[in-house]
Amino acid sequence: MNIFETIGRSTLRTGAAIWDVMALFFKTLYWLFFAPFKGKFIGRRYIFEQMVFAGLQSVLIVFFVTFFIGIVLAMQGAYQLDKLGAVRFVASLISVSITREIGPVLIALVVAGRVGAAIAAELGTMKVTEQIEALDTMALNPIRFLVVPRFLALLLMLPALTVIGDVVGMFGGFVVGVFNLKISPNLYISTNFQFLVMKDVMTGLFKSFVFAMIIAMIACYHGLNTSGGAEGVGRSTTLSVVSSFILIILADAILTGIFYFSSV
């Protein structure tokens, strides 16, 4: 096989995968928005279960990660701002960069690793043990019963986790600012919100909406397309995490670009 053939083949394969993911996405939207008008609702219980798993059970790790990122950002920011004699503005630096950028991306990566991997592994196991086929032969559509609840849960919980993470991250910065940089708590808090506008928060939340769709679709796609027993489940899980990491970063670059250029 020469190099052109290799490139050609992998391009075709990637193209087919993108097509399949889009098809899955539109089917999900159909079951979410149109099927209910035909009397086919999504079980509230399944959505609730998934919200507990994706949201509630991710809170602790989000706390942990964002708190320490807040601390690191504060120290790093103070180190650089000190040279400009502007250490006081460390709070603004942290609040804006966390809400717009670091919070949504970092939390999406954490959730892709925790929730996305679990979804791919669970659906993959169901696929190789004929459970997906069993659902289908019982006239229970796998997209309706498995994909939609996970999609919806991530769509609601990832932005919620992002709001929590933003606050915790700012608190991490506050701890460094007050106890290490000796900025008075009141001053720190007022600087924190001095340059933070609603648009920053909205930008961050919009990003996390998009990331939630990416995580859910990629994980469900890899899960439902698993083949080859236990080894295949492992492969799907890895692929799901790796490809959602790449897509999250890529989508972030594109979205940041759009927000940046549309505001100048």
Binding site: A134, M138, A139
Partner: protein, 267 residues
Amino acid sequence: MAEEKEVVIKIENLVKEFGGRRVLDGINLEIYKGESFVIMGGSGCGKSTILRHIIGGLRPDSGKVYLFGEDISTAGDDKMDGFKKRFGMLFQSSALFDSLTVEENISLPLREHTKLDEHIIKIMVKMKLELVGLHGFGHLYPSQLSGGMKKRVGLARAIALDPEIIFYDEPSAGLDPVVTAVIDKLIVDLSEKLSITSVIVTHDMNSVFRIADRIAMLHKGKVLEIGTKEEIQNSKNEYVKQFITGSPDGPIGFFKPDENYLQELTK
């Protein structure tokens, strides 16, 4: 028999290839209402693939599959869903939902497809469990059950909606002879008591002769012979005879001809 038999499943010239390899090569079958029809053949000869075509999981490359008198390739999703509620399937690996208890597994189709009250569903689940001899196991999870118990729960789930047809994919695979006999008896009971049409895929000869009214022998993607149990037992076909007796010598060979082997070695 003079009486007119109603055909519930009809397969015409079914052809299916996977990656250029022809797995089904012109299958023709008719399955009558109320009978127990066995499809037998060696591993990998395409038995499960035939079932997947009948239940709508795979589309034929060419040929037609008729279910309840209708061509399923032209049936839309809603119509197919209607068919799916009229048959049940017992999977080779039981395919119970790991995250649900035995009771929830069986009640899932009832809950989603009927408007029955919760307490009526509970009663129906108990009845189905009783039928497969697993009364009182409803609260367990599939991981807490043995292989034979899983098969029986799978069967209880398959009959939850009182289907007209049940498909069994290797019901005795991986079970000991006694449990196999129990499952076989259940299959016979269900078809006799509830006059359900049964389509059973298996390579276990003991089961075949316990269950079958009629048998089709499959080999290399073709139907070699179809007949009643007696006709198959007295078959003159060398392939069928070898399969029934389970002899290593005969036309169903596992060894390559000598010349090819030599060529391959020296290539």
